[in-house]
């Protein structure tokens, strides 16, 4: 149907962050009344693309973008979200944009309140007009009814509502905007139960029939295929496929999404695990309240001498596990290490038990950036195990000799590129900082090492080196490692088993040689035994 007008056309969108290209010549269009699916792994550039469309400040602050946007037949260059909203673009956010202390009506009408004049407002400012709650509530009711979702009272407070209801309030707010021509849904069903999701998908189809263009971002490929007219697959900032929904399959989309990434990372063969490995770490029903990386109850074991990988898309809880075990984020459940219970929410307990952690946030948590390399190396061991200390009379003082010896040894062993042990860590490159983090964790002589995102933000050569180090520690010293990474390729290179997280629970535990499609499907939740949303209510 060539006659259907195009609502949104993004042409040749290219965006770099500090010389690092995240979008390369992306073309995307949405027609009136069309539901257009957008799928891709995290880091594929979906969020950046949406930020550009919404004129989020972060885009301007990092040097803008190149390419054109045509919205509703006109050139469109949003510089702030307000302009996008005024033009008729609505967004249903992944995280809730609701004010808990407000009622449903107040939230739906937030900053679009209906007001009546009074004598003060005539004298001073329209800001002093009285709110017309009755009309506001009537409008809200209409918007909620349009979604055909039962059970939301327009006067009820939002705090304490089931998550699914909040999602519908969010959507009701967007469709209450009269001029809305394009609605963007960023993973709207991630928090919904099966039945709620079905209602939502129905509502989307109804909205599309009213002539609203819909951009639907989701990891649930079956949903995408069920309701979308077309699907675009984004990988590494490039569009790798654009298909009519009827002409593709879930398997094909999953393969396209993960793809085979080229890269020169080569690591010697994995150590073969003994068949009857002893379980050193037993995790039961671990829930971690890490903002943005919530874990909703996972149970798994780690065998002695194993490298266990934890992968999954961002926001699905993979980073939460290590932070929860190490007591850095509020957690509940049970973690036993070598038969002894580790008390959660207490980092010292985990460290004393022989666990060491290399955080994903190395610049903020991992390192004292303005301290010397050797002090960074020695600090944790000094604190936790009393290493590098000696006693002088009644005082315990640091032992510079042993610190220096250890530092020089480490610099050699880990191939840290530095001017010397007194260089401050801030001046080191990202890769060398990462080596310092790992070396320091090793200085604790841990029995189990947890590393999160060890290769994030470092160059290819350093990545190779870091992976080699981890592999060597495992092979030569028999160190058990839990490695969390967004880079599936790396996990598949060195891990013995890989846990894939989805929606805060384990979607599957895969061997490294499982197929691309298998990984893709597991990561997008197609293979998880249950929908996580079923359990979730706020009460």
């Amino acid at each position: 149907m060539p006659s259907v007008p195009v609502v949104l056309k993004m042409i040749g969108i290219t965006k770099e962050f500090y010389g690092n290209p995240v979008l390369k010549n992306v073309n995307l269009d949405v027609k009136q009344g069309e539901i257009h699916g957008l799928v891709g792994e995290n880091g594929a550039g979906k969020t950046t693309l949406m930020n550009i469309l919404f004129g989020m400040p972060v885009i301007q602050e990092t040097g803008g973008f190149s390419g054109r946007i045509v919205f509703d037949g006109k050139e469109f260059l949003p510089r702030e979200p307000r302009q996008a909203m005024a033009a008729g673009i609505g967004m249903v956010h992944q995280e809730f944009m609701l004010i808990p202390g407000f009622s449903v009506t107040e939230n739906i009408k937030l900053n679009r309140e209906i007001t009546k004049e009074n004598f003060l407002s005539r004298m001073f400012s329209r800001k002093l007009e009285t709110l017309d709650m009755t009309t506001m509530a009537a409008h809200s009711r209409k918007a909620i009814d349009a979604l055909a979702f039962e059970g939301i009272d327009e006067w009820a407070p939002v705090a304490g509502m089931p998550v699914g209801h909040k999602q519908f309030v969010e959507i009701a707010r967007e469709i209450d905007k009269e001029n809305v021509k394009l609605l963007v849904f960023d993973e709207p069903t991630a928090v919904l139960t099966e039945s709620e999701a079905a209602i939502l998908l129905d509502a989307l189809k109804r909205l599309a029939r009213r002539g609203i263009g819909i951009l639907f971002i989701s990891h649930r490929l079956d949903e995408v295929l069920a309701i979308c007219d077309r699907v675009t697959v984004l990988r590494d900032g490039e569009i790798v496929a654009e298909k009519k929904a009827g002409e593709t399959t879930v398997i094909e989309l999953a393969e396209r999404m993960v793809g085979r990434k080229v890269g020169g990372l080569r690591v010697p063969d994995r150590v073969k695990l003994p068949e009857t490995g002893e379980d050193v770490l037993v995790v039961e029903d671990l829930a971690v309240n890490m903002p943005g990386e919530r874990v909703r109850g996972v149970s798994f074991t780690v065998k002695r001498g194993e490298i266990l990988g934890i992968g999954g898309l961002a926001g699905h809880g993979k980073l939460g596990i290590a932070n929860g075990i190490m007591g850095l984020q509020p957690a509940s459940g049970s973690v036993r290490f070598l038969g002894r219970e580790i008390s959660l929410n207490d980092p010292v307990s985990a460290l004393r038990a022989g666990l060491a952690f290399v955080s994903e946030d190395r610049r903020n948590i991992g390192l004292l950036l303005d301290e010397a390399l050797e002090d960074n190396l020695a600090l944790t061991a000094m604190q936790v195990h009393g290493r590098f200390l000696r006693r002088v009379g009644p005082f315990t003082v640091r032992d510079p000799g042993s610190i220096r010896r250890y530092a020089l040894e480490t610099i050699k062993e880990f191939d840290i590129r530095t001017t010397g042990p007194r260089q401050i860590v801030r001046r080191l490159s990202g890769g060398n900082q990462q080596k310092v983090c790992i070396a320091r964790a090793i200085s604790l002589e841990p029995k189990l090492l947890l590393v999160s995102e060890p290769t994030r933000g470092i160059d290819v050569g350093a990545k190779q080196k870091v992976l080699e180090i981890l592999h060597r520690l495992n092979r030569e010293k028999g160190l058990t490692i839990i490695m969390t990474s967004s880079e599936l390729v790396e996990l598949r290179r060195i891990c013995h088993r890989i846990i894939i997280m989805y929606g805060g629970i384990i979607a599957g535990i895969l061997p490294p040689d499982a197929s691309d499609a298998e990984f893709g499907l597991t990561m997008s939740g197609e293979r998880s035994a249950e929908r996580s949303g079923e359990h979730e209510t706020t009460r």
Partner: protein, 369 residues
């Protein structure tokens, strides 16, 4: 039975007013003072203090916490009073004149304070307190040094014998009771300043109306979640700025009412404890750092000042020394603020932890703390 349950619920949900209510009752009994004496004292002090306490409400609703920078409003008011006393404008005209002079000063100071608080989001209380100390220095510079030197002024009644700088204590002979005596009634010996209470009523009504307007809605939205408010297109910084300006103007009005009742101006001290006592009053009423109502402001001021009145007498009759009671009431004023802040921090921490146990993200529990 239903009524009884409702009473019980409201009592258990606000333990602080309950505890202090009992304490006050105890003090009243022990002090051995007559009801008519206490009532007169309380009425006087309520008329004197209520507007100052009410001025705290807007910043709390806009998420700025307890506004320690209300000292700035008090300074603006004192400037207005000094000008009117110098010009020898008597009675209510002097009061109005002082308000007209202090209004623009309060707006400017509120603007400055608001901008600073926008740069210190999440640390508004300490920023406001420090700003108060800083402005105190500027205030002293102006009135201790610049008056009579840079600012030409000659008035031996107001100024130090050296020829510049104001006296420590200025008697407000033209403005004393300017508002209180405008209209008052006497009920069997109890004098009630009706005009002052009318003004207080007006402020209460105004605040209540404000919360029903678009602006009030913006305050509440920004106060609960700045991020969501800004995504919805509300100008967060401007809204917060406006909240501080309104609060500063109200505080200056409050200080005018306060000083016309006291009748003397301690040029360099009158403003200093304004914030501490007003904040303690508000917290005594059961308000928290994030939630405060007109009712809590009114009830808290009543309790705080009743305690203030009876504690020296109670100390006298219990320990034989009014100093003990005096000590106790100062202890209470600061202790209440400290306790409220600790409880606030502790609650936030506990909510985050219990959210973790139920596997919820922080903030998806009730925030109505």
């Amino acid at each position: 039975m239903k009524v009884w349950r409702k009473i019980r619920e409201s009592l258990t949900s606000s333990p602080i007013p309950l505890v202090f209510g009992i304490l006050c009752l105890f003090g009243v009994v022990v002090s051995g003072k007559s009801w008519s004496f206490l009532l007169q004292e309380v009425v006087t002090r309520l008329a004197r203090n209520w507007i100052l306490v009410l001025s705290l409400l807007v910043p709390v609703s806009a998420g700025l916490g307890l506004n320690f920078s209300m000292v700035l409003g008090a300074m603006a008011a004192q400037t207005g009073i000094i000008v009117m006393t110098h010009l020898k404008v008597p009675g209510i005209l002097g009061f109005l004149g002082a308000f007209i002079v202090s209004f623009p000063i309060a707006v400017v100071l509120g603007f400055v304070a608001g901008n600073i608080m926008n740069k210190a989001k999440g640390r508004e209380m300490i920023a406001g307190m420090m700003l108060g100390f800083f402005m105190n220095g500027v205030y002293q510079l102006v009135f201790l040094f610049m008056v009579g030197t840079v600012i030409p002024m000659k008035n031996p009644d107001l100024m130090l014998p050296q020829g510049f700088g104001l006296r420590n204590t200025v008697e407000l002979k033209y403005m004393k009771y300017a508002l209180d005596n405008l209209l008052n009634v006497s009920l069997s010996g109890l004098v009630i300043p009706l005009a002052t209470f009318a003004l207080i009523g007006l402020v209460c009504l105004g605040l209540n109306r404000l919360y029903k307007t678009k602006l009030g809605q913006d305050f509440r939205a920004v106060g609960q979640d700045m991020h969501v408010a800004s995504v919805a297109g509300i100008d967060v910084n401007k809204t917060r700025l406006l909240a501080v300006v309104i609060a500063t103007v109200l505080a200056s009005l409050g200080q005018l009412v306060f000083l016309q009742n006291i009748g003397t101006l301690n040029t360099y001290n009158s403003h200093e404890q304004v914030a501490t006592f007003a904040i303690a009053s508000l917290l005594l009423g059961g308000a928290t750092v994030t939630r405060a109502t007109v009712g809590q402001a009114l009830a808290g001021t009543f309790l705080f000042h009743l305690l203030f009145i009876v504690s020296p007498y109670a100390g006298q009759s219990l320990m034989g020394s009014p100093q003990v009671g005096e000590y106790f009431r100062v202890f209470v004023a600061y202790g209440i603020i400290a306790a409220a802040l600790v409880v606030h921090a502790w609650e936030a921490h506990r909510r985050a932890l219990s959210a973790a146990k139920r596997g919820l993200p922080e903030g998806e529990t009730d925030r109505a703390g």
